[in-house]
């Protein structure tokens, strides 16, 4: 039973957030009316993003605090239901909100590894970690490692790993923030990053975990409304059923039937697809021939090819009756020609690969591990399962998520809050595959077969914004769109759904605000994890344990600003691939934390040496494998058992467990105090708890 104070607090919260949700819906309706009255789209986008960002900042200001427990763990009175929402927003990042449906659209069944991994991990959190961490009841994850294993070394490794994976992850989020603000307001990317960052800072700077919690609840409400509305509408359009999650089974059947028609050259449409594929195949072979010539001829070949193009352009210029369009194309070809051997190699390789992908038959959406032969299929199956495992274990090891379970009032509430978290998260993850199938149905039936002179308006609109998101080219010059003539970037699916469904612009702005909420809320949680690790674990626990509270908080806030500035600086350099950064964060967290945390609770015999050995060897193995296999680092060593670099955590987890076990068995069992601490976390309430709590 909750105390009267707490239940009054809960009913107050319910009232506030119900009012807030109603107010937000009213705000969307108001903007829709403004749109009908002719307010320009750009202004609507500004208002929408501006108001939501101010709202988050406002909650941050209202929740400002200078109390240590409030700052680090929101006063430990966040009810299960609301903590569930906060975990949901903390968890679902820009990658989930914008990228996931697109990944599913492009890779069908195989993309479901992300859906499975990002939800199934919460079973591990619920069963193995959350209740015990709540009972332990300190402030950070390195705190637990420090207390359970003793000494500063396990804590320091924990701090290092927490910062490493949170920082990798936060860069991906800030990148998303910059992308969304720049796309929808026309600010440039760098400006977008700093505006977004400003709101993150106001929020976490003034109120720490307390402000972040209540902002995240507000952000969850916005992001889930923004995700659902367009999908429900699209489902109504194609099936007449407002519940897309149930209705899309039959749409999937139709998509599968369509795939068979388009893959069958004896049907008229299939024949046209085959024609386009044959052209693409030729193009691919021509590019491959050029690549081969480049390897043998080197720079000389490149120069001679460039001169050929230059000559062709010059010849055209001398003709007075030359078509200006052709002249422009010839000049463009000269300008686009790669300047040196390595950039030529890269550009041609990419073009050959994309032609190769499109010249093959359409992959069936619902078929698991599709491949031409048994070896390919079994390799895909292995990688699918490895990725699922890494994402699940990584979920159960990311410090910014685990930290949220310190904020509930009791162990019981912690257990229930994992349930609410998973429920709120699953809402989005169950919808994403539906969205992918509905969008695919739209493309396969309405876009394919339409005429180039009358493309649907959303296609021309997005093609003019960004060619990498949407482009259609009439490759066989028959004036009709074939599937192999369409190039779709994954992020398009979520961003363009409102337009595909024929909804007004205000819904597009709502989706942008939802994406922003997803990115900001995750970034909030991560920044706080990083600055808390530094201020609490490094400064307070290791450097100056007698520091007064106001100095601890001051240090924490100052570090927050430094970390934020540094992260923004790194992001503005635009480092590489978002999906790799996200995948890397999961693998790193899984290898470094999971074995030491889980065994620390369930195996009394685990000791300091084991923890140090396990964490170092797990993290080391994972980083080493990423370094030697990920193309970005340029080593390109052969893969171990065909496992892709994104699942590097698989080896890290196994080595990590082995390390903890071997290290512990080789050295003496932990002392009595440590063993008592294990008992302490295992039981929600032991009689002597009151005594130890006062210590």
């Amino acid at each position: 039973m909750a105390s009267p104070v707490q239940s009054r607090f809960v009913s107050q919260l319910k009232r506030y957030y119900a009012l807030y949700t109603g107010g937000f819906i009213g705000f969307v309706v108001l903007l829709a009316i403004l749109e009908q009255m002719g307010v320009p789209n750009k202004l609507l986008g500004y208002i929408f993003l501006g108001v939501t960002v101010l709202l988050y900042a406002g909650i941050g200001i209202l929740s400002r605090t200078s109390d240590v427990a409030e700052y680090y763990v929101a006063g430990r009175r966040v009810p299960a239901f609301f903590n569930g929402m906060a975990v949901g927003a903390d968890w679902m990042s820009a990658a989930s909100f914008i990228g996931l449906a697109g990944t599913l659209y492009l890779s069908g069944y195989d993309g479901l590894a992300f859906v499975l991994g990002w939800t199934g991990g919460f079973v591990l959190v619920a069963l193995l970690l959350a209740p015990y961490l709540r009972k332990f009841g300190q402030f950070t994850i390195p705190d637990f490692l420090g207390a359970r294993y003793g000494g500063n070394i396990p804590r320091s490794i924990g701090v290092f790993a927490a910062i490493l994976c949170s920082f990798t992850y936060v860069i991906a989020q800030i990148y998303g923030v910059g992308l969304i603000t720049s796309r929808f307001t026309g600010l440039d990317f760098g400006m977008g990053v700093f505006v977004g960052l400003g709101s993150i800072l106001v929020c976490s700077f003034l109120g720490g975990m307390r402000a972040v919690t209540w902002t995240q609840v507000a952000q969850y409400v916005i992001l889930i409304i923004a995700y659902m509305i367009p999908v429900v509408w699209l489902s109504m359009k194609h099936t007449g059923d407002p519940i897309p999650q149930i209705a899309y089974g039959y749409v999937l059947e139709k998509v599968t039937a369509r795939e068979q028609v388009l893959n069958d050259p004896t049907t008229p449409e299939g024949a046209r697809e085959a024609e386009v594929r044959a052209i693409l195949k030729q193009r691919q072979e021509a590019t491959e021939a050029r690549l081969k010539a480049l390897e043998s001829g080197g720079n000389a070949y490149l120069v001679s090819e460039r001169n050929k193009l230059k000559k062709a352009a010059a010849d055209l210029k001398t003709k007075h009756d030359a078509n200006p369009k052709m002249l422009e194309a010839a000049n463009q070809a000269v300008a686009d020609f790669p300047s040196d051997v390595s950039s030529a190699r890269n550009a041609w390789r990419i073009s050959a690969e994309s032609d190769k992908a499109k010249s093959g038959p359409i992959a069936a959406h619902a078929e698991p591990f599709a491949g031409p032969d048994e070896a390919t299929r079994s390799k895909k199956r292995k990688n699918f399962l490895a990725l699922v495992l890494c994402l699940m274990v990584g979920t159960a090891a990311l410090p910014h998520i685990l930290m949220r379970f310190y904020t509930t009032p009791t162990v019981k509430e912690a257990r229930h809050s994992v349930f609410w978290s998973l429920l709120f998260i699953s809402l989005l993850y169950i919808t994403a595959p539906a969205l992918a199938v509905l969008a695919k149905y739209d493309v396969y039936t309405l876009l394919v077969g339409s005429s180039f002179s009358e493309l649907p308006s959303w296609v021309s609109a997005w093609a003019s914004v960004d060619k990498s998101l949407m482009s259609v080219t009439d490759i066989n010059h028959d004036g009709i769109v074939q599937l192999s003539e369409i190039t779709i970037g994954g992020d398009l699916i979520v961003l363009a759904t409102p337009e595909i469904a024929g909804l007004p612009y205000v819904i597009t702005a709502l989706v942008a605000a939802g994406g922003l909420a997803a990115a900001l809320s995750t970034a909030d949680g991560l920044m706080l994890t990083i600055s808390n690790s530094l201020s609490h674990d490094v400064y307070y626990k290791m450097i100056d344990p007698r520091a007064p509270t106001n100095r601890r908080l001051f240090i924490s806030k100052a570090l927050l600003v430094v970390v934020a500035g540094f992260a923004a600086y790194i992001t503005s350099l635009k480092p590489g691939d978002i999906l790799f950064l996200v995948g890397a964060a999961f693998s790193l967290a899984a290898s470094a934390f999971f074995p030491a945390l889980a065994l620390g609770i369930f195996w009394r015999r685990a000791n300091k040496t084991g923890a140090i050995l396990g964490m170092l060897s797990g993290l080391g193995t994972c980083m080493f494998y990423m370094y030697i296999t990920y193309p970005f680092f340029g080593v390109n060593a052969p893969l171990w058992w065909d496992i892709n670099p994104i699942s590097a955590g698989l080896f890290g987890i196994l080595v990590g467990f082995a390390g903890v076990i071997v290290g512990s068995l080789l050295t003496a069992a932990p002392d009595k105090g440590t063993q008592e601490m294990v008992d302490y976390v295992r039981y929600p309430n032991l009689e002597n708890d009151i005594k130890s709590k006062s210590v």
């Binding site: 039973m1 909750a2 105390s3 707490q6 069944y109 479901l112 859906v115 499975l116 939800t119 199934g120 919460f122 079973v123 591990l124 619920a126 069963l127 193995l128 209740p131 999650q245 149930i246 089974g249 039959y250 749409v251 999937l252 059947e253 619902a366 078929e367 698991p368 591990f369 299929r377 199956r381 699918f384 399962l385 699922v388 495992l389 699940m392 009032p409 009791t410 162990v411 019981k412 257990r415 229930h416 994992v418 349930f419 998973l422 429920l423 699953s426 993850y429 169950i430 595959p433 369930f602 008592e676 008992d679 295992r682 039981y683 929600p684 309430n685 032991l686 009689e687 002597n688």
Partner: protein, 87 residues
């Protein structure tokens, strides 16, 4: 503090429940995933079974597992007298 026999029983029951639920989790994710190609010929609500499981079925089972665990542990806490007091 010395743990009583009752405390040990509580922990064993907890472990048994945890193991059972983890087993279901493992089967739903990895065993079903391993046999995905064989399960795709069974159809449910228009979905091939393997697709349905990975896109929806498994998620619903995960939610149920976590909810069931929370409720069972509440009961177990009270039964063994280790529940928390008012706060």
């Amino acid at each position: 503090m010395q743990l009583t026999e009752k405390h040990r029983q509580y922990w064993h029951k907890n472990l048994r429940l945890t193991m059972a639920l983890l087993l279901i989790w493992f089967v739903v994710t990895f065993v079903v995933g391993w046999f995905a190609r064989d399960l795709r010929f069974i159809t449910i609500l228009g979905f091939p079974l393997s697709f349905y499981m990975a896109a929806q079925g498994a998620l619903l089972i995960f939610v149920l597992l976590v909810g069931y665990y929370a409720n069972c542990m509440d009961k177990l806490d009270r039964e063994f007298g280790v529940q928390e007091g008012d706060r």
